[in-house]
């Protein structure tokens, strides 16, 4: 039985075609994976099915009847449940209150059924904001299943989960399909597809690049996703795409004294407890150290302590012997500390200003005429050179940042930090998030080059494979603490880190 049939679905934003004549058929009782790189149109497709946006053209039908939701409420009423990429739970409310917002009768009985059938038990009286992300994801799934939907759509649900939580989620998807439900799992991780999907559809550039696929091997899917053969895929990409085999970089001897030293850093949580607890970290020149971990275990705060957005309650940050614990961002920049923040839209750039200004906002003093006037011409020509060098796809140096895609914004931010002279230390949080395959390659290459040129590099990422391929050593963040460093090239490193990520002692 056909659960969802999409025919010729298109969505245009101005001149951009986010979806271009997409056809998709989802059978009941199957898990149907929709694959694609970032920007392939996966999320747009989800929003159209979920009623969050109205398509420009095309039609949908649900179990044989015409389906054209104008708002999420109508999608819900039709029996479609969404699990969004960004959680849609009110973080200040408790789990029970969030579930009550759905206004379904017999809540307790339904919850019990879900707990019995899928092992989905949730802590009802906890405030959502206090819960680990894995538990929040479970609440999200419970919320979606409460109304007993006929079609469940999950939009990149595993991005913030640890390996064990991903397993649990995929098992749940499988069981729902086995119970006769239809599941659409949107992802860019091929490893997940191979494990759970019955059928896959690949999107590329808003169009269907392959449909009804049952050969779910990476060799078959990758060329469809990226539009070229998989041979030239860098080993790091394999990690990013969630493939099982990861090529770890060779072990290198680091014999220099550390240049960046974090000593006993603690940041207390406003409600009690610690966001960071007694964190020690040393990085030598030329060394790349990765911070692994499920999101929300103190990585964000660690980067904030380095960027100066957060002053730790205890401990010191030293760079080349200089105490930067309480230094202003300008002082840090002058000392050669570059930081690529996790949230590039809010912390990394000013979206309303043009690319050139974003590149040189911290160094306007170098572009002066007559001491008071800004030499825009010089600034823009310098920016043009940077745009070319880093392969940033932008209309020009005078284009506003907001006109650039997320990946290109990331490249601008990275280019700015890499341009520090001298670059003593680079800290990058989730540097490849939201980038397409080509951009990932470029960004990781530049990070490697920075290390080769003698910078100490810290990379925070939730992609374990990426860290293993990029870093010399990896530490794991769990509940505000950092584990002992694990040499990435050592045998068994992957399993050891995966264990530490969920708090199990390896």
């Amino acid at each position: 039985m056909i659960a969802l049939e999409i025919a010729g679905l298109s969505k245009t934003y101005g001149s951009v075609r986010a979806l271009d004549g997409v056809d998709l058929t989802v059978e009941a009782g199957t898990v149907h994976c929709v694959l694609g790189e970032n920007g392939a149109g996966k999320s747009t497709l989800c929003h159209a099915v979920g009623g969050s946006l109205t398509p420009s053209a095309g039609s949908m039908s649900l179990f044989g009847t015409r389906y054209a939701p104008r708002r999420p409420k109508e999608a819900i009423a039709a029996g479609v449940a969404m699990v969004h990429q960004h959680f849609s739970l009110v973080s200040t409310l408790t789990v029970a209150e969030n579930l009550r917002l759905l206004r379904v009768g017999g809540l307790a009985a339904r919850l019990e059924r879900l707990a019995d059938r899928y092992g989905l038990a949730v802590p009802l009286d906890e405030t959502v904001g206090d819960l680990p992300l894995g538990v929040r994801q479970r609440v999200e799934i419970v919320k979606a299943l409460l109304r007993e939907p006929r079609l469940l759509v999950l939009d990149e649900p595993t991005g913030v989960l640890g390996p064990a939580e991903v397993d649990a989620l995929l098992t749940t998807c499988r069981r729902i399909a086995d119970d006769g439900g239809a599941v659409v799992l949107v992802t860019h991780k091929l490893g997940e597809v191979a494990r759970v999907a019955d059928v896959a559809t690949v999107l590329r550039g808003g169009k269907v690049a392959g449909s009804g696929l049952t050969d779910l091997s990476a060799d078959n899917l990758i060329p469809l996703m990226i539009g070229r053969p998989a041979d030239d895929l860098a080993p790091v990409l394999a990690g990013t795409l969630g493939l099982s085999e990861v090529v770890v970089r060779d072990e290198r001897a680091i014999d220099q004294a550390p240049v960046l030293s974090l000593r006993d850093i603690s940041v207390t949580r406003p409600g009690g407890g610690y966001l960071l607890e007694n964190v020690d970290l040393d990085i030598a020149p030329g060394e790349i150290v990765g911070v692994a971990g499920v999101e929300g275990n103190g990585q964000t705060e660690l980067i904030h302590v380095l960027s100066g957005a957060l002053v730790p309650d205890a401990g010191t940050v030293e760079l080349a012997g200089e105490d930067l614990t309480r230094a202003t961002p300008a002082r840090r920049t002058a000392a050669g500390l570059g930081v690529v923040p996790e949230d590039r839209h809010h912390e990394g750039c000013v979206p309303e200003l043009d690319v050139a200004t974003n590149l040189y906002l911290g160094r306007l003093g170098e572009y002066r005429r007559f001491h008071v006037l800004l030499d825009k011409k010089a600034m823009r020509s310098a920016a043009t050179a940077v745009i070319e060098k880093h392969g940033i796809s932008a209309p020009g140096p005078a284009a506003p940042m907001s006109a650039l895609s997320g990946g290109n914004q990331q490249k601008v931010v990275l280019a700015r930090e890499l341009a520090l002279d001298p670059l003593v230390c680079l800290a990058a949080a989730q540097p490849t998030r939201g980038l397409d395959v080509g951009a990932v390659d470029a960004v990781l290459g530049r990070i490697r080059a920075a290390a080769a040129a003698g910078a100490a590099v810290l990379v925070v990422s939730s992609e374990l494979g990426e860290l293993l391929a990029l870093c010399d050593r990896v530490v794991v963040a769990y509940r505000g603490k950092l584990s002992e460093a694990i040499v990435a090239a050592a045998p068994g490193a992957h399993d050891k880190i995966a264990h530490l990520m969920i708090g199990a002692t390896a």
């Binding site: 849609s88 200040t92 409310l93 917002l101």
Partner: protein, 305 residues
Amino acid sequence: MSAVLEEILSGGVRLAAPLLLASAGELVSERAGVLNLSVEGMMLTGAFAGAAGAMVTGSAVAGVACALVAGLLVALIQAILSVTLRADQIVTGITANALALGATTYGARLLFTDGSSLEGFAALPIPVLSEIPLIGPALFEQTALGYLAFAVAAALAFGLSRRFTWGLAIDAVGEDTLTADRCGLPVRLIRYAAVLLTGATAGLAGADLALAEVHAFSDNITGGVGYLAVVAVIAGRWRAWPTVLACLFFGVAQALQFAAPAVGLHVPAPLLVTIPYVIALLAVSGLVGRSRAPSGLTVPFARTA
């Protein structure tokens, strides 16, 4: 001494009544994510319409009905601007207040020319209860509008509780409109209802000022009470009962200025008038407990994807 205290308390409760009404509505609206600075303008328009209605019809109750309608009209404008058109809530609020001040002052020149007193509400003492020393006259010797104010405040405080689906829905909309929308909640409808509720209660508050307090309309009769209602919500940290307490406290603080000479306290009156605002500043700057506004306050809703 106890007579003075009784005086301060009953004056405080009387002055708190319009504050209670206005901030009860404002609290609901802010919990739903709409900051109505225009509550001042709603009150002022309500006071004017109440006075005009009472004068034309000769009935105070008809005046209250006019005040209610006038408050709702200003609220409707605010709601259209801030919810449907997604205009900046602070700018629209201040503009609405300036407009209300100009329009009512002009209207007063045309209507209220003889300076005579209006048909208003008299105090309705409740037998026995109003004989209780100290708090008796304060709580049980109010006008009908005064009692109504307390009833409305209590009802809203109770109704905002998260034990009820609507209280929960209002909070969800005020915290995160997108999430609320994805849960199937009617986000715009809830925000409209919340703003209109503020209009109704602020209109009543205006009527209370003109018909129960002063028995006349004077230019800018509210004189910032609406802003004080917004402040009471902040000082009450967006929770119902603390907001009620803040209103009572501000009322008593205002009453002090009238009682100060009686107890031989010779503080210049203009200084006393500032007390509620000083407290408000302290509250906002975080000295009186830690404040946390609803995350979605002043954030317009758009179903972007």
